[in-house]
Each structure stands twice: as C-alpha cells, then as structure tokens.
C-alpha cells in the first residue's frame, strides 16, 4: 500500500472551502436519494410484513418465519447469479429449466446408474456450469441477444428433462449424510437457509469487493469503455453465465436434499420469479447498477407475499396478482427517483 501524505484527510474533496461545501452538499444529497431507493424498498417490505403480522394468524411464529426463509432459498440462490448477469447487461431465461434438469439428472444417475449421491451431485454441478458456459459462448460469439438464446435454451432443457423421464417423476433415495448436508436441520433452522445466506453473502462480497465484480458493473454500464480499458467483456459475460448456471443446478441439488424426487415440471416459471426478485431489488434491467442485497430483499418479499396470503386465508392464486403490483410499484418508484435525481443535478 502506498503511503499517502495526509492519510484520511486526502480523501476529502479537493478545493477551496465554498466550492467544496457546495460539491459536498450535492454529493451527499445525491447519496441520500440513492439510499432512499433502498430505504423505500425496505419500507414496502416492512409494510407488507406488518400488514401480514396484524392480519394473519401465526404469521409471527418462529416456525412460520423460518418457513418463509426456506421458501426464499431456491429463488434467492438463483437470483444471485441472475443479478450478476443483469448487471453485466445480459439475461438468462433457462435458469428454471436448468434447475429442473439438475433434479432429474441427479435422480437418474442415483436411481438408474447406481452412482453415489455426492458423485451424482458433482456431475450435476458440472452440467449446470456447462449449460452456463454454452449459454455464455452462444450469446457472446453469435451476437444473438441473450433473451432469445436462453429462451431457446429453456425449451431445449425442458424437452431434455421430459425425454429423460418420459414425463414421469423420478423417485430416488439418498444417504443420510447427503440428506443432512443439503436438507437437514440445525436445531429449528433448515440447513438450506444457511446455504442460501452463505451464497448471498459470498455473492454480495464478490460483486462489491473484487475486481471481477467491478468489471461486471463496467461491462453492463458502458461496454465500449470497459473494453477500451482492457476489460475482456466477453469473458466477464461468460463467467456470469457460468455462475448463474452453476447456482441454478446447485439450487436443484438443494431441492433433492429435502425432496428425493426429480420432476420434469420442477422450476417451470422460476426464470420469471427470479427476474422479478432481481428487478424488485432495484437492479437496472439495462445493466450497470444493482446489488445482491436488494435482490435478497426482493426474493424474501416474494416468499413473504405467498406465505402471508395463505395465512390470511386468501387464495394462493392471488400471489402473482400481488407480485405483479409490487413489480410495477418498485420499478415505478425507481424511475421516479431517477428522474428526480436528474432534475436535481441539472
């Protein structure tokens, strides 16, 4: 580390007192506005939470709160990868199909090919990463938009799942160790929650604190500038696709830890739920900005809505209705704030 004369003092803005004050005020006001966006999201979350806490019986029971957390696990884990991708300016619609295929391949390998469950898991994780790699190379090398490429990939993977199973669920059994590591309990807490928290925290750290994370933001923010600065944007995007594929298959592995079956319908529609979590969490769909923390809140909110509605005795079919409204409110808030910030700056 280079010694900087003056140390922390050098971190203050440069310039004379009056200009400095103006600039400082400007910067901090903007900062507050940006923070407001996250605060508002949290406020909506808390309002929802409070509404359910007041109206739904047993909502605040520890068991129920843990069940909300557990319901968040799969979407939260896949959303971490999707956040990287969307910040880098891409999208993956094949995550749900990838997730479903993981449960099927794992079941088939264990049940029909007598492979050990941990070996099967390793194969499945490689497969997930490989699907991500193919998506990434396909998008970056052919120039086909990721929306189109991964839409096709989704259909292909769904079809492969149906071909392998003939359309029927695969039942299989796993060892005690496997069932514990991927679906067991530590006291009252399902171990899957621990996995999800670990991945969210690790993912947030990697995105915010590593060079790779910095380059992901740069790639989605201004691809040409990133490229001119020597960042290999193709490689960054491929890594994001691999990460997303890997996390999708890992979410599948977690599911097999608690539900010992593979079903060709597993994960159908998850791609949109995941994107909803990312967008509600404040990540810009056009790339360049966003955070894992926001995504985690978005994912938790979706799970919260489902749980609260059921406890309130409202049809679970109303869940998507509320989700739809939340998406609109969150993104509308985002646009309003952005415009206000622009007006403030001009």
């Amino acid at each position: 580390m280079t010694h900087v004369p003056g140390g922390a003092a050098d971190n203050r803005p440069v310039g004379d007192a009056s200009t400095q004050a103006v600039l400082e005020r400007q910067a901090s006001s903007l900062h507050i506005l940006w923070r407001t966006r996250e605060a508002l999201l949290l406020a909506v979350g808390i309002a929802l939470f409070a509404a359910f806490a007041l109206t739904a019986p047993h909502f605040l029971d520890l068991g129920n709160l843990l069940s909300i957390a557990r319901g968040t696990v799969v979407v939260a884990i896949i959303s971490v990868g999707m956040t990287y991708l969307i910040i880098a300016g891409e999208l993956d619609l094949s995550v749900g199909a990838n997730f479903g295929l993981a449960t099927i391949v794992l079941g088939t390998l264990v049940q029909n090919y007598n492979l050990g469950d941990f070996q099967a898991m390793t194969v499945v994780l490689f497969l997930g990463a490989l699907i991500g790699l193919i998506n990434g190379l396909g998008v970056t090398l052919t120039g086909i938009p990721s929306l189109i490429w991964t839409l096709a990939a989704m259909f292909v993977l769904q079809s492969v799942s149906l071909l392998i199973t003939g359309g029927y669920p695969i039942l299989f059994s796993v060892s005690k160790a496997y069932a514990f590591i991927f679906g067991g309990r530590l006291g009252m807490v399902n171990i899957q929650i621990v996995w999800a928290i670990g991945i969210v925290v690790g993912g947030a750290w990697m995105l915010a604190g590593t060079r790779f994370g910095y380059h992901v933001y740069a790639t989605g923010g201004n691809a040409e500038a990133a490229e001119r600065a020597g960042i290999n944007i193709g490689r960054i995007k491929v890594f994001c696709f691999i990460l997303t594929g890997l996390l999708s298959s890992f979410a599948g592995v977690l599911l097999t830890g608690s539900v010992h079956s593979g079903n060709p319908t597993n994960g159908m529609g998850y791609e949109l739920t995941v994107i909803a979590a990312v967008v509600i969490g404040g990540t810009n769909l056009f790339g360049g900005s966003g955070s894992i923390a926001g995504t985690a809140v978005g994912a938790a909110m979706l799970s919260l809505i489902g749980d609260g509605l059921v406890l309130d005795g409202i049809s679970i079919f109303a869940q998507d209705l509320v989700t739809g409204i939340i998406i609109i409110v969150a993104v509308f808030m985002d646009i309003q704030l952005r415009q206000r910030i622009l007006r403030f700056v001009k």
């Binding site: 580390m1 280079t2 900087v4 140390g7 050098d10 971190n11 203050r12 803005p13 440069v14 310039g15 004379d16 200009t19 400095q20 600039l23 400082e24 400007q26 910067a27 903007l30 900062h31 940006w34 604190g209 590593t210 060079r211 790779f212 994370g213 910095y214 380059h215 933001y217 740069a218 923010g221 201004n222 040409e224 500038a225 990133a226 001119r228 600065a229 020597g230 960042i231 810009n284 360049g288 900005s289 910030i341 700056v345």
Partner: protein, 280 residues
C-alpha cells in the same frame, strides 16, 4: 502480455524535452474511398506545449488524431517519437509509447463512481489480484486530482452525476494517472460545455502542458484555442494550410484560413480534395 511497439531507432534518442519535438509526423496521407482525408500532413508536438488543430468539418482533424492514437493506419507518411520511427498496429501500441487519446464520448461508466472510473480495468488489488483495495483507490484518486489542481466532489460520487467539465476532467486524469501518458490528444474537450466548465477544462489543459506533457487539442472554438494553445495548425480539406504561433495571429486570420481564403481573399486550394477513382 503487451507487445513491443514496432519502432526503428534512428540513432541516439534525445528523449522528450522541450527543445526536441516529442512527436513528429511527416507527409501523412489517408484516403477513405474517393475522399482524401489527409493529403501530406506534417505536425510537430512538443513537450510542455499545447498544439491546437483547427479546421472546418471534414478538414481531416479527427483522422489525424486517430492516426496518432493508433486507431487508424495512414496510407503513407512517418511518425517519429523521440528519435525513433514508429508504426502503430493499433491503439495499444500508441498507449505503450505514452500516447493517449480522449475522445468526445469520454468512455466513462456513468453508474460508477469517480474512483472506479479513474481505475477502470486496473483496479488496485491485493496479493492474488482479486480483492479491490478500495481505500487505496479512493486515496490515490484524490491525490491524482489534487496534483492536477482540480476541485472534485468526493471520489464516491457517481460519474453520471458530474457536470460536463468534471467528466472531461475525469477522462483526462485517467489517461495521465492510468497510462502515464506523455502525449495527450484531446478531441473537442470543450464542446458542449458552458463558459465556466470550459474554463475549468482549459485550465487543466494548460496545467498538463506545464507539467511537461505534449498536448494536442482539436477544437472548433477559436477563442478557446487562442487562450490555451501555443501553436495552431489550420487544416483545410486534408492539408495543413497554416501554422501560427498564438502570439502572432488572431481570430480573423484563422477563420480566413479555415474557410479556405488567403489574406487576399483568394481560394487557398483548388478543388483537389477529391481523388478520382483509379487516379490515386
């Protein structure tokens, strides 16, 4: 990693100094299709000097800049840096030789803060080149701007929230800080800037030159040129039609040359700028 630029030494290198030109180009020509963009252009850039290139749209200013930055290859002509004749295969060759260009688009990531933009693509990181040393990045960014004598808000401010002049300053500071550029090419640095912002940028350009950097500025704004430059090259239809020291010229003379009039009011160049097909 980085290729060695293709340079042929022509004897003792005098190095970059105020007396020897930092960069000399002679007889550059470049033709795009039927249009001769450059027609035997010769320019000298000196360390510690601001060299302005003025001319109307299509006079060849941008082509000249792109050739010097290694982004475009000339059809013929020589580029000498110090005492070596160089051929740029692409802009990384020019960068390796200390030549950096700041184009009008500035190549900034608006959603990221000043420090991240200043260190774009070369973020300081720990032992395994993985974890970004954020603190160090912020401190060094502040130091770079302090050395350039620039007032900036905190290094955490998003670049998208900066004024035009501040954005230009970040882009210029980056080529100095990141690439240690000794020859800086600026494309219309004050275009689209207000009066005050322009002055901030012009002051910065002057300070760059005072720190012994060779600066070339392309501009349409003759008042800015006359206030900041030492030497002005006037281009007209792909040729340099005049070189003036700033002290010995005035706006009217420059305007006359830019629009292709001699002092007597006669056309300076006859319609020779179009190359007929097959006549090249």
């Amino acid at each position: 990693m980085m290729r060695k630029p293709d340079c042929l030494s022509m004897g003792e290198s005098p190095g970059l100094s105020a007396t020897h030109p930092a960069l000399v180009v002679e007889g550059l020509t470049k033709t795009f299709g039927w249009v001769r963009a450059l027609n035997g252009v010769s320019v000298e850039l000196h360390a510690g000097q601001v060299t302005a290139v003025v001319g109307d749209n299509g006079a060849g200013k941008s082509t000249l800049m792109k050739i010097l930055a290694g982004a475009v290859r000339p059809d013929s002509g020589t580029i000498r840096i110090g005492n070596s004749e160089c051929h740029f295969r692409d802009s990384s060759d020019a960068l390796a030789l200390g030549i950096s260009a700041v184009y009008q688009d500035l190549a900034l990531v608006n959603q990221r803060d000043i420090a991240s933009n200043l260190f774009l693509g070369r973020e300081p990181a720990g032992r395994f080149k993985i974890v970004v040393q954020r603190r160090r990045m912020l401190n060094e960014s502040a130091r770079v701007f302090a050395e350039l004598g620039l007032r900036m808000p905190t290094m955490r401010t998003l670049v998208g929230n900066l004024s035009g002049g501040q954005r230009q300053a970040v882009a210029i500071a980056r080529v100095i800080a990141a690439h240690g550029a000794r020859i800086v090419l600026l494309d219309e640095p004050t275009a689209a800037l207000g009066v005050h912002q322009s002055q901030v940028v012009l002051d910065l350009v002057r300070r760059l030159a005072n720190s012994n950097v060779a600066v070339m500025v392309i501009s349409h704004n003759l008042q800015h040129v006359l206030s900041v430059a030492d030497v002005v090259y006037v281009m007209f239809r792909g040729s340099v039609v005049g070189v003036r020291k700033v002290g010995s010229t005035h706006e009217e003379e420059l305007v006359g040359m830019i629009v292709g009039r001699t002092s007597a009011g006669n056309p300076l160049v006859s319609g020779d700028d179009l190359v007929a097909p097959g006549r090249q």
